[in-house]
Protein backbone atom coordinates (compact mmCIF):
# COMPACT_ATOMS: atom_id res chain seq x y z
CA UNK A 1 0.00 0.00 0.00
CA UNK A 2 1.39 3.35 -1.02
CA UNK A 3 -0.04 5.18 2.00
CA UNK A 4 0.67 4.17 5.56
CA UNK A 5 -1.24 5.61 8.51
CA UNK A 6 1.29 6.09 11.26
CA UNK A 7 1.17 7.02 14.92
CA UNK A 8 2.60 10.22 16.28
CA UNK A 9 5.41 8.29 17.95
CA UNK A 10 6.61 7.05 14.57
CA UNK A 11 6.71 10.46 12.96
CA UNK A 12 9.69 12.76 12.78
CA UNK A 13 8.10 15.92 14.13
CA UNK A 14 11.13 17.32 15.88
CA UNK A 15 12.79 20.09 13.91
CA UNK A 16 10.09 19.76 11.27
CA UNK A 17 8.13 22.54 9.68
CA UNK A 18 4.47 22.12 8.85
CA UNK A 19 3.61 23.39 5.37
CA UNK A 20 -0.05 23.70 4.43
CA UNK A 21 -0.79 21.80 1.25
CA UNK A 22 -4.56 21.33 1.10
CA UNK A 23 -7.79 21.93 2.97
CA UNK A 24 -11.28 20.42 2.81
CA UNK A 25 -14.12 22.39 4.44
CA UNK A 26 -16.99 20.03 3.76
CA UNK A 27 -16.10 16.41 4.40
CA UNK A 28 -19.81 15.79 4.78
CA UNK A 29 -20.63 16.88 1.23
CA UNK A 30 -20.68 13.15 0.53
CA UNK A 31 -20.80 11.58 4.02
CA UNK A 32 -19.00 8.38 3.04
CA UNK A 33 -15.75 10.31 2.83
CA UNK A 34 -15.99 11.45 6.43
CA UNK A 35 -16.88 7.95 7.60
CA UNK A 36 -13.94 6.43 5.74
CA UNK A 37 -11.53 8.86 7.39
CA UNK A 38 -13.05 8.31 10.84
CA UNK A 39 -12.46 4.60 10.47
CA UNK A 40 -8.99 4.82 8.95
CA UNK A 41 -7.69 7.32 11.51
CA UNK A 42 -9.70 5.81 14.38
CA UNK A 43 -11.26 9.14 15.25
CA UNK A 44 -13.58 9.55 18.22
CA UNK A 45 -15.56 12.60 19.38
CA UNK A 46 -12.74 13.23 21.86
CA UNK A 47 -10.50 14.17 18.94
CA UNK A 48 -12.65 17.26 18.45
CA UNK A 49 -11.56 18.53 21.84
CA UNK A 50 -7.81 18.80 21.64
CA UNK A 51 -7.02 15.35 20.27
CA UNK A 52 -3.91 14.60 18.26
CA UNK A 53 -3.81 15.03 14.47
CA UNK A 54 -3.50 12.04 12.19
CA UNK A 55 -0.36 11.27 10.22
CA UNK A 56 0.45 9.37 7.07
CA UNK A 57 3.58 8.42 5.22
CA UNK A 58 3.62 8.23 1.44
CA UNK A 59 5.56 5.62 -0.51
CA UNK A 60 8.05 8.38 -1.24
CA UNK A 61 8.88 8.46 2.47
CA UNK A 62 7.49 11.96 2.87
CA UNK A 63 5.22 12.42 5.85
CA UNK A 64 2.07 14.43 6.32
CA UNK A 65 -0.05 15.66 9.20
CA UNK A 66 -3.85 15.55 8.89
CA UNK A 67 -5.60 18.08 11.14
CA UNK A 68 -9.26 17.27 11.55
CA UNK A 69 -11.49 20.27 12.09
CA UNK A 70 -14.88 20.72 13.67
CA UNK A 71 -17.71 23.09 12.86
CA UNK A 72 -20.87 23.76 14.85
CA UNK A 73 -23.88 22.12 13.26
CA UNK A 74 -21.81 19.51 11.43
CA UNK A 75 -20.64 16.06 12.48
CA UNK A 76 -16.99 15.69 13.45
CA UNK A 77 -14.79 15.87 11.53
CA UNK A 78 -16.36 18.51 9.33
CA UNK A 79 -13.12 19.20 7.51
CA UNK A 80 -9.41 18.56 7.36
CA UNK A 81 -6.13 20.27 6.63
CA UNK A 82 -3.15 18.40 5.27
CA UNK A 83 0.30 19.72 6.12
CA UNK A 84 3.59 18.42 4.78
CA UNK A 85 6.17 17.76 7.46
CA UNK A 86 9.45 19.11 6.17
CA UNK A 87 12.77 18.87 7.95
CA UNK A 88 14.44 22.07 9.03
CA UNK A 89 14.47 24.68 6.32
CA UNK A 90 14.28 22.26 3.39
CA UNK A 91 12.24 23.35 0.40
CA UNK A 92 9.04 21.61 -0.63
CA UNK A 93 8.68 20.24 -4.15
CA UNK A 94 5.10 20.89 -5.36
CA UNK A 95 5.00 18.11 -7.96
CA UNK A 96 6.32 15.56 -5.48
CA UNK A 97 3.69 16.71 -3.00
CA UNK A 98 1.01 16.42 -5.66
CA UNK A 99 2.05 12.86 -6.42
CA UNK A 100 1.87 11.97 -2.72
CA UNK A 101 -1.58 13.55 -2.45
CA UNK A 102 -2.78 11.67 -5.52
CA UNK A 103 -1.65 8.44 -3.87
CA UNK A 104 -3.56 9.52 -0.77
CA UNK A 105 -6.70 9.88 -2.90
CA UNK A 106 -6.08 6.44 -4.43
CA UNK A 107 -5.84 5.10 -0.88
CA UNK A 108 -8.96 6.94 0.29
CA UNK A 109 -11.45 6.25 -2.51
CA UNK A 110 -11.71 2.45 -2.11
CA UNK A 111 -12.30 3.01 1.61
CA UNK A 112 -15.28 5.19 0.79
CA UNK A 113 -16.55 2.42 -1.45
CA UNK A 114 -19.90 2.04 -3.17
CA UNK A 115 -20.13 4.18 -6.27
CA UNK A 116 -16.76 5.79 -5.43
CA UNK A 117 -14.35 3.53 -7.25
CA UNK A 118 -10.65 3.70 -7.96
CA UNK A 119 -11.48 3.27 -11.63
CA UNK A 120 -13.65 6.39 -11.58
CA UNK A 121 -10.92 8.36 -9.83
CA UNK A 122 -8.27 7.24 -12.30
CA UNK A 123 -10.53 7.89 -15.28
CA UNK A 124 -11.23 11.38 -13.97
CA UNK A 125 -7.53 11.95 -13.42
CA UNK A 126 -6.75 10.85 -16.96
CA UNK A 127 -9.33 13.19 -18.48
CA UNK A 128 -7.79 16.06 -16.57
CA UNK A 129 -4.19 15.03 -17.32
CA UNK A 130 -3.10 14.14 -13.81
CA UNK A 131 0.33 12.60 -14.52
CA UNK A 132 0.00 9.83 -11.95
CA UNK A 133 -3.49 8.68 -12.92
Amino acid sequence: MSIEIVALAEIRTQNCRRIFVMMEDRLGHYPGFREALVEAFKLTPAHADGGAPGYFRAASGREYEVVFTSRSGHRFPSGLEINALVAGFDAIEPDATDEDLWRFLEWLIPRVGGEWTLEALKATGKVYKIPWA
Binding site: V21, M22, M23, E24, D25, R26, L27, G28, H29, Y30, F33, R34, R71, L80, D98, L101, W102, F104, L105, L108, I109, E115, W116, T117, A120, L121, A123, T124, G125, V127, Y128, K129, I130
Partner: protein, 312 residues
Protein backbone atom coordinates in the same frame (compact mmCIF):
# COMPACT_ATOMS: atom_id res chain seq x y z
CA UNK B 1 -6.07 35.14 -1.21
CA UNK B 2 -5.41 37.07 -4.41
CA UNK B 3 -4.80 40.64 -3.37
CA UNK B 4 -5.65 43.31 -5.87
CA UNK B 5 -5.26 46.87 -4.64
CA UNK B 6 -8.08 49.33 -5.21
CA UNK B 7 -6.20 51.45 -7.71
CA UNK B 8 -4.09 48.95 -9.63
CA UNK B 9 -6.15 46.10 -11.06
CA UNK B 10 -6.66 47.37 -14.58
CA UNK B 11 -3.00 48.02 -15.17
CA UNK B 12 -2.13 44.72 -13.51
CA UNK B 13 -3.38 42.84 -16.54
CA UNK B 14 -0.39 42.09 -18.75
CA UNK B 15 -0.38 43.56 -22.26
CA UNK B 16 -1.03 40.22 -23.97
CA UNK B 17 -4.30 39.97 -22.05
CA UNK B 18 -5.12 43.65 -22.11
CA UNK B 19 -4.99 43.72 -25.91
CA UNK B 20 -7.97 41.35 -25.95
CA UNK B 21 -9.73 43.13 -23.09
CA UNK B 22 -9.21 46.87 -23.68
CA UNK B 23 -11.94 48.00 -21.30
CA UNK B 24 -11.78 50.17 -18.22
CA UNK B 25 -11.94 48.07 -15.06
CA UNK B 26 -14.41 49.43 -12.51
CA UNK B 27 -15.04 48.29 -8.97
CA UNK B 28 -17.96 48.40 -6.59
CA UNK B 29 -18.15 47.17 -3.01
CA UNK B 30 -21.10 44.79 -2.80
CA UNK B 31 -22.10 43.16 0.49
CA UNK B 32 -18.59 43.76 1.78
CA UNK B 33 -16.81 42.31 -1.26
CA UNK B 34 -15.16 44.25 -4.04
CA UNK B 35 -16.73 43.38 -7.38
CA UNK B 36 -14.99 44.07 -10.68
CA UNK B 37 -17.02 45.02 -13.73
CA UNK B 38 -16.88 46.56 -17.17
CA UNK B 39 -19.37 49.31 -18.04
CA UNK B 40 -19.10 50.58 -21.61
CA UNK B 41 -21.39 52.63 -23.84
CA UNK B 42 -24.75 54.29 -23.45
CA UNK B 43 -28.31 53.16 -23.94
CA UNK B 44 -30.45 50.45 -22.46
CA UNK B 45 -28.14 48.18 -20.49
CA UNK B 46 -27.15 44.68 -21.52
CA UNK B 47 -25.91 42.72 -18.51
CA UNK B 48 -23.53 39.90 -19.44
CA UNK B 49 -23.21 37.16 -16.81
CA UNK B 50 -20.54 34.47 -16.77
CA UNK B 51 -20.26 31.21 -14.86
CA UNK B 52 -17.57 28.88 -13.57
CA UNK B 53 -14.55 29.29 -13.99
CA UNK B 54 -14.65 32.29 -16.30
CA UNK B 55 -14.92 36.06 -15.84
CA UNK B 56 -16.01 39.07 -17.86
CA UNK B 57 -13.19 38.29 -20.29
CA UNK B 58 -15.57 35.65 -21.68
CA UNK B 59 -17.62 38.48 -23.18
CA UNK B 60 -14.71 40.48 -24.65
CA UNK B 61 -16.13 40.14 -28.18
CA UNK B 62 -19.69 40.88 -27.12
CA UNK B 63 -18.86 44.18 -25.45
CA UNK B 64 -17.74 46.25 -28.48
CA UNK B 65 -20.37 44.75 -30.76
CA UNK B 66 -23.27 45.49 -28.40
CA UNK B 67 -21.83 48.90 -27.50
CA UNK B 68 -21.52 49.87 -31.15
CA UNK B 69 -25.16 48.89 -31.62
CA UNK B 70 -26.21 51.51 -29.09
CA UNK B 71 -26.26 49.66 -25.79
CA UNK B 72 -24.67 50.21 -22.41
CA UNK B 73 -22.82 46.95 -21.83
CA UNK B 74 -22.11 45.81 -18.29
CA UNK B 75 -20.14 42.67 -17.47
CA UNK B 76 -19.40 41.93 -13.80
CA UNK B 77 -17.13 39.26 -12.36
CA UNK B 78 -18.95 37.18 -9.75
CA UNK B 79 -17.35 37.41 -6.33
CA UNK B 80 -14.61 34.78 -6.31
CA UNK B 81 -13.81 35.11 -10.03
CA UNK B 82 -11.82 37.29 -12.38
CA UNK B 83 -10.66 40.52 -10.80
CA UNK B 84 -13.30 40.50 -8.05
CA UNK B 85 -12.50 39.65 -4.43
CA UNK B 86 -11.71 36.06 -3.49
CA UNK B 87 -13.12 35.26 -0.07
CA UNK B 88 -11.11 32.41 1.40
CA UNK B 89 -13.78 30.32 3.11
CA UNK B 90 -16.07 27.86 1.36
CA UNK B 91 -18.82 28.61 3.85
CA UNK B 92 -18.92 32.23 2.66
CA UNK B 93 -20.49 31.08 -0.58
CA UNK B 94 -24.01 30.09 -1.45
CA UNK B 95 -26.24 30.51 -4.46
CA UNK B 96 -28.37 32.87 -2.40
CA UNK B 97 -25.36 35.06 -1.58
CA UNK B 98 -24.40 35.25 -5.25
CA UNK B 99 -27.95 36.27 -6.17
CA UNK B 100 -27.92 38.90 -3.42
CA UNK B 101 -24.58 40.23 -4.65
CA UNK B 102 -25.90 40.60 -8.19
CA UNK B 103 -29.18 42.15 -7.02
CA UNK B 104 -27.24 44.71 -4.99
CA UNK B 105 -24.94 45.40 -7.94
CA UNK B 106 -27.96 46.09 -10.16
CA UNK B 107 -29.57 48.27 -7.49
CA UNK B 108 -26.41 50.30 -6.88
CA UNK B 109 -26.00 51.01 -10.60
CA UNK B 110 -29.66 51.98 -10.83
CA UNK B 111 -30.16 49.81 -13.89
CA UNK B 112 -33.52 49.72 -15.68
CA UNK B 113 -34.70 48.25 -18.98
CA UNK B 114 -32.06 45.55 -18.55
CA UNK B 115 -31.38 42.79 -21.03
CA UNK B 116 -29.67 40.02 -19.08
CA UNK B 117 -27.55 37.57 -21.05
CA UNK B 118 -26.64 34.55 -18.96
CA UNK B 119 -24.72 31.30 -19.29
CA UNK B 120 -23.82 28.61 -16.74
CA UNK B 121 -24.09 30.13 -13.20
CA UNK B 122 -25.03 33.41 -14.82
CA UNK B 123 -28.40 31.69 -15.35
CA UNK B 124 -29.55 30.96 -11.80
CA UNK B 125 -28.12 34.29 -10.56
CA UNK B 126 -29.32 36.51 -13.38
CA UNK B 127 -32.71 34.89 -13.83
CA UNK B 128 -33.32 35.09 -10.08
CA UNK B 129 -32.67 38.83 -10.23
CA UNK B 130 -35.07 39.12 -13.16
CA UNK B 131 -37.95 37.33 -11.45
CA UNK B 132 -37.29 39.24 -8.20
CA UNK B 133 -37.61 42.59 -10.01
CA UNK B 134 -39.30 41.92 -13.35
CA UNK B 135 -40.12 45.59 -13.84
CA UNK B 136 -36.41 46.34 -14.26
CA UNK B 137 -35.90 43.88 -17.09
CA UNK B 138 -36.57 44.37 -20.76
CA UNK B 139 -35.44 40.95 -21.96
CA UNK B 140 -33.64 37.79 -20.93
CA UNK B 141 -31.28 35.71 -23.03
CA UNK B 142 -30.51 32.22 -21.76
CA UNK B 143 -27.58 30.19 -23.06
CA UNK B 144 -26.27 26.80 -21.84
CA UNK B 145 -27.64 27.06 -18.32
CA UNK B 146 -30.45 25.76 -16.10
CA UNK B 147 -33.05 27.00 -13.64
CA UNK B 148 -34.53 23.98 -11.85
CA UNK B 149 -33.54 21.68 -9.00
CA UNK B 150 -33.04 18.46 -10.97
CA UNK B 151 -29.48 17.70 -12.15
CA UNK B 152 -28.57 16.77 -15.68
CA UNK B 153 -27.08 13.35 -16.36
CA UNK B 154 -23.67 15.02 -16.56
CA UNK B 155 -24.02 16.49 -13.06
CA UNK B 156 -25.41 13.28 -11.62
CA UNK B 157 -22.57 11.06 -12.80
CA UNK B 158 -19.70 10.05 -10.53
CA UNK B 159 -17.37 10.09 -13.51
CA UNK B 160 -16.21 12.73 -14.00
CA UNK B 161 -18.36 15.41 -12.41
CA UNK B 162 -19.11 14.24 -8.87
CA UNK B 163 -15.66 12.69 -8.48
CA UNK B 164 -14.11 16.00 -9.47
CA UNK B 165 -15.59 17.91 -6.55
CA UNK B 166 -15.92 15.09 -3.99
CA UNK B 167 -14.51 15.73 -0.52
CA UNK B 168 -10.69 15.86 -0.49
CA UNK B 169 -10.63 15.11 -4.23
CA UNK B 170 -12.12 18.52 -5.02
CA UNK B 171 -9.48 20.67 -3.34
CA UNK B 172 -6.80 18.54 -4.97
CA UNK B 173 -8.15 18.67 -8.52
CA UNK B 174 -9.64 22.15 -8.59
CA UNK B 175 -7.24 24.04 -6.37
CA UNK B 176 -3.87 22.26 -6.42
CA UNK B 177 -4.14 21.08 -10.04
CA UNK B 178 -6.42 23.85 -11.39
CA UNK B 179 -8.16 21.39 -13.69
CA UNK B 180 -11.02 23.60 -14.84
CA UNK B 181 -8.63 26.19 -16.19
CA UNK B 182 -5.89 23.88 -17.40
CA UNK B 183 -8.15 21.30 -19.02
CA UNK B 184 -11.87 21.84 -18.45
CA UNK B 185 -12.15 24.99 -20.52
CA UNK B 186 -10.21 23.44 -23.38
CA UNK B 187 -12.52 20.43 -23.40
CA UNK B 188 -15.56 22.72 -23.42
CA UNK B 189 -14.90 24.79 -26.52
CA UNK B 190 -15.06 23.82 -30.18
CA UNK B 191 -12.35 26.08 -31.60
CA UNK B 192 -9.56 24.83 -29.34
CA UNK B 193 -6.45 26.17 -31.05
CA UNK B 194 -7.83 29.70 -31.10
CA UNK B 195 -8.91 29.35 -27.50
CA UNK B 196 -5.48 28.25 -26.30
CA UNK B 197 -3.72 31.08 -28.10
CA UNK B 198 -6.10 33.93 -27.37
CA UNK B 199 -8.12 33.17 -24.25
CA UNK B 200 -6.48 30.59 -22.01
CA UNK B 201 -3.78 32.98 -20.72
CA UNK B 202 -6.47 35.35 -19.43
CA UNK B 203 -8.34 32.63 -17.56
CA UNK B 204 -5.07 31.26 -16.20
CA UNK B 205 -3.90 34.71 -15.13
CA UNK B 206 -6.69 35.23 -12.60
CA UNK B 207 -6.37 31.74 -11.09
CA UNK B 208 -2.68 31.68 -10.29
CA UNK B 209 -2.67 30.12 -6.84
CA UNK B 210 -4.48 27.64 -4.64
CA UNK B 211 -6.61 30.14 -2.76
CA UNK B 212 -7.73 32.04 -5.86
CA UNK B 213 -9.33 28.85 -7.24
CA UNK B 214 -11.64 28.16 -4.30
CA UNK B 215 -14.86 29.08 -6.11
CA UNK B 216 -14.10 26.74 -8.99
CA UNK B 217 -14.77 23.84 -6.63
CA UNK B 218 -17.44 25.52 -4.49
CA UNK B 219 -19.82 26.25 -7.37
CA UNK B 220 -20.03 22.57 -8.43
CA UNK B 221 -21.05 21.63 -4.90
CA UNK B 222 -23.89 24.15 -5.05
CA UNK B 223 -25.58 22.29 -7.91
CA UNK B 224 -28.41 20.39 -6.22
CA UNK B 225 -28.60 16.66 -6.84
CA UNK B 226 -31.28 15.79 -4.28
CA UNK B 227 -34.31 17.69 -2.97
CA UNK B 228 -32.64 18.42 0.40
CA UNK B 229 -29.36 19.72 -1.06
CA UNK B 230 -28.24 23.30 -0.63
CA UNK B 231 -29.62 25.47 -3.43
CA UNK B 232 -32.44 23.01 -4.19
CA UNK B 233 -35.15 25.17 -2.61
CA UNK B 234 -33.91 28.28 -4.37
CA UNK B 235 -33.71 26.49 -7.70
CA UNK B 236 -37.24 25.18 -7.16
CA UNK B 237 -38.43 28.70 -6.39
CA UNK B 238 -36.67 29.99 -9.51
CA UNK B 239 -38.33 27.42 -11.74
CA UNK B 240 -41.76 28.19 -10.34
CA UNK B 241 -41.18 31.92 -10.70
CA UNK B 242 -40.10 31.56 -14.32
CA UNK B 243 -43.41 29.83 -15.10
CA UNK B 244 -45.07 33.16 -14.36
CA UNK B 245 -42.43 35.27 -16.07
CA UNK B 246 -43.59 37.31 -19.06
CA UNK B 247 -40.34 39.13 -19.76
CA UNK B 248 -39.49 38.72 -23.46
CA UNK B 249 -36.96 35.93 -23.80
CA UNK B 250 -34.49 34.48 -26.26
CA UNK B 251 -32.96 31.01 -26.00
CA UNK B 252 -29.55 30.46 -27.65
CA UNK B 253 -27.84 27.10 -27.29
CA UNK B 254 -24.59 25.45 -28.30
CA UNK B 255 -24.97 22.59 -30.74
CA UNK B 256 -22.05 20.77 -29.12
CA UNK B 257 -23.09 21.44 -25.50
CA UNK B 258 -22.92 18.36 -23.24
CA UNK B 259 -23.16 19.90 -19.73
CA UNK B 260 -26.66 21.21 -20.39
CA UNK B 261 -27.77 19.15 -23.39
CA UNK B 262 -30.43 20.10 -25.91
CA UNK B 263 -33.29 18.96 -23.67
CA UNK B 264 -32.38 21.80 -21.28
CA UNK B 265 -33.03 24.32 -24.05
CA UNK B 266 -36.39 22.66 -24.65
CA UNK B 267 -37.13 22.81 -20.92
CA UNK B 268 -36.57 26.57 -21.00
CA UNK B 269 -38.95 26.72 -23.95
CA UNK B 270 -41.54 24.94 -21.82
CA UNK B 271 -40.91 27.29 -18.88
CA UNK B 272 -40.98 30.36 -21.12
CA UNK B 273 -43.32 29.42 -23.97
CA UNK B 274 -43.24 32.97 -25.29
CA UNK B 275 -39.47 32.77 -25.76
CA UNK B 276 -37.91 32.99 -29.19
CA UNK B 277 -35.72 30.00 -30.03
CA UNK B 278 -33.92 27.89 -29.24
CA UNK B 279 -31.45 29.18 -31.79
CA UNK B 280 -28.58 26.75 -32.26
CA UNK B 281 -25.04 28.01 -32.73
CA UNK B 282 -21.67 26.32 -32.99
CA UNK B 283 -20.55 26.00 -29.42
CA UNK B 284 -19.77 23.69 -26.59
CA UNK B 285 -20.36 24.77 -22.98
CA UNK B 286 -18.50 28.07 -23.41
CA UNK B 287 -20.31 29.03 -26.57
CA UNK B 288 -19.27 32.67 -26.12
CA UNK B 289 -15.74 31.58 -27.08
CA UNK B 290 -16.97 29.72 -30.15
CA UNK B 291 -19.63 31.93 -31.74
CA UNK B 292 -19.54 35.44 -30.27
CA UNK B 293 -20.49 37.31 -33.43
CA UNK B 294 -23.31 34.95 -34.34
CA UNK B 295 -24.75 35.15 -30.82
CA UNK B 296 -24.48 38.95 -30.79
CA UNK B 297 -26.30 39.02 -34.09
CA UNK B 298 -29.13 36.94 -32.62
CA UNK B 299 -29.32 39.19 -29.54
CA UNK B 300 -29.36 42.39 -31.57
CA UNK B 301 -31.96 41.06 -34.02
CA UNK B 302 -34.12 39.99 -31.09
CA UNK B 303 -33.83 43.36 -29.31
CA UNK B 304 -34.49 45.23 -32.55
CA UNK B 305 -37.64 43.20 -33.12
CA UNK B 306 -38.73 43.87 -29.55
CA UNK B 307 -38.20 47.61 -30.04
CA UNK B 308 -40.22 47.50 -33.24
CA UNK B 309 -43.01 45.62 -31.51
CA UNK B 310 -42.55 42.57 -33.70
CA UNK B 311 -42.45 39.01 -32.56
CA UNK B 312 -39.16 37.58 -33.79
Amino acid sequence: MVTITDNAPASSLPPEIRKHFPFESRFMRVNGHRMHYVDEGEGDPVLLLHGNPTWSFLYRKFIPRLKDAGHRVIAPDHIGFGLSDRPAREHDFSLENHIANLAEFIRRLGLKRITVVCQDWGGPTGLACAVLNPGLFKAIVVMNTWAWPEPTAFHNGVFPWRMMHAPVVGPYLFQRRNILIERGLYLSVVHRERFVEEALPAYRYVMQDYDSRLLTRVFPRLIPLRPDDRSAATMGWLEQSLRNCTIPALIVWGKEEIVFPAHCAQRFKTLLPHAHGPLWVTGSHFLQEDSPQEICGHILDFLRDQENGRQP
